[in-house]
Symmetry: C2
Subunit: 261 residues, 2 copies
């Protein structure tokens, strides 16, 4: 790999910053030293620098570092900079209104699905919650919708061990491959309590103008309001229609076979 154009000091800093993106959002110097494997002095100087630049804030009492406001600015302009999100949002609204369920938009980042937008049925609020959060792709309807259209090599790179989230989760490679084949054939992916017991979802992929799958949308709801029949016969076509519309707005033109670029 091209390690030629990579600047080590910056990488280290970014890695430290990333530590705050995972489990703990508040960390002490010592924790960072052990988590990063850096020497104490280096870690200290990195932290000082990150603090100086506003990416971290230090609580003077507890001496713990936590993400600063600079990080917020970045995160949200990143979100609003994502064209898909603006394009998809009205469709999510309509989906949610028409079905009475929750509609979401996500994209694939490595082995994880990351939520970009969500419109709930109970309109009130809480909308932000879960935005930007990540779940393993093989347990998610949107995840499977996107995995299905990767090349074999990409898929191989992306998949680690398939840890189950519920008894319904797919943990076997072969079964996953079968499932993904079915997704390709039908054009949508379902999730029947594989992520959370009591939760069903149906998703469809979104293509861009390069005929690449870049995102997915889905409809989620409780098993009490979404039967398997309704999922496949009613919701699946609805989600697929919206996904196609979004894809076309992004410049995707349906055609036969692979496209020459």
């Amino acid at each position: 790999m091209s390690r030629t154009y990579t600047i080590e000091a910056l990488v280290r800093g970014l890695r430290v910053l990333s530590l705050f993106g995972t489990s703990e959002s508040e960390m002490t110097l010592q924790q960072i030293v052990t988590a990063s494997g850096l020497s104490k002095s280096t870690a200290f100087r990195i932290l000082s620098t990150l603090e100086h630049e506003g990416y971290l804030v230090r609580d003077e009492d507890t001496l713990r570092y936590r993400p600063g406001l600079a990080v917020l600015r970045l995160g949200f302009t990143a979100l609003s900079g994502l064209g898909i999100r603006e394009t998809a949002h009205p469709h999510l609204r309509r989906l949610s209104r028409e079905t009475g369920e929750t509609a979401s938009l996500s994209t694939l980042d490595g082995t994880e699905v990351i939520y970009l937008d969500r419109v709930r049925n109970r309109a009130i609020v809480g909308v932000v919650l879960g935005l930007g959060s990540r779940i393993p792709a093989h347990c998610a309807s949107m995840g499977k919708a996107m995995l299905a259209f990767l090349t074999d090599e990409e898929l191989e790179q992306v998949l680690g061990d398939l840890a189950p989230r519920t008894p319904h989760s797919i943990t076997d490679r072969t079964r996953l491959a079968e499932e993904l084949a079915r997704v390709r054939q039908r054009g949508f992916a379902i999730n029947d309590q594989e992520l959370e017991v009591g939760l069903r979802a149906v998703a469809a992929p979104i293509w861009n103008h390069q005929r690449r799958v870049i995102a997915a949308i889905n409809i989620t709801g409780s098993v009490s309001t979404i039967s398997r029949q309704r999922l496949v016969e009613d919701l699946a076509p609805t989600v697929m229609r919206s996904a196609h519309e979004i894809s076309e707005e992004l410049g995707f033109r349906p055609g036969l076979g692979d496209a020459a670029s």
Copy 2:
């Protein structure tokens, strides 16, 4: 200043990253060179590193860089890590429901107010929009509510030139000082079309256990539904009550004069 514990290569990288937080969310190498003042080679290596770490993504067609998904993760854990937000959210909901207007939470970052949460009247969606965005403090009700409780030195450091946003904006230092005195006296700040014509708001500050103002909440609405009378006589007390409740939940105990620590 302690430039001893600051690592230059990291600072440069973060500065480059920050460029994407402001105006443009997509930039070309050349743009970054001129915007940052770095040499072409350095800028190039920084960009490569940021890309390698997932903080930037490069569009292979246009050769433009834009924020990557790593940045998203950070932003959202930062948000959810903010204790105030969780504490304040139910209050925002209640405020919005009771008044039928939009309620927001923000904090002060330098001369700018940064939105942390918002609950709209029209419940549906769009909630996320504007979250993390920044506006000049002197044109904002929440900004004035927070500025009013800074020390004179802090205020001096924070205020640059008071650029107007509408004809109603405060642009004069003396007038701002008078306004802030009034805010301190009354305990709330109003905004009568100073940020946007047709928009009124009333805000109150939130204190933490150290008796420091760390945030503010407000209620915003159109001049058509919010008269000046309603703003002051009806909404102001409501907002103040909520602000006090939030403050107390954060450990603030009202008392006389300055507290000994």
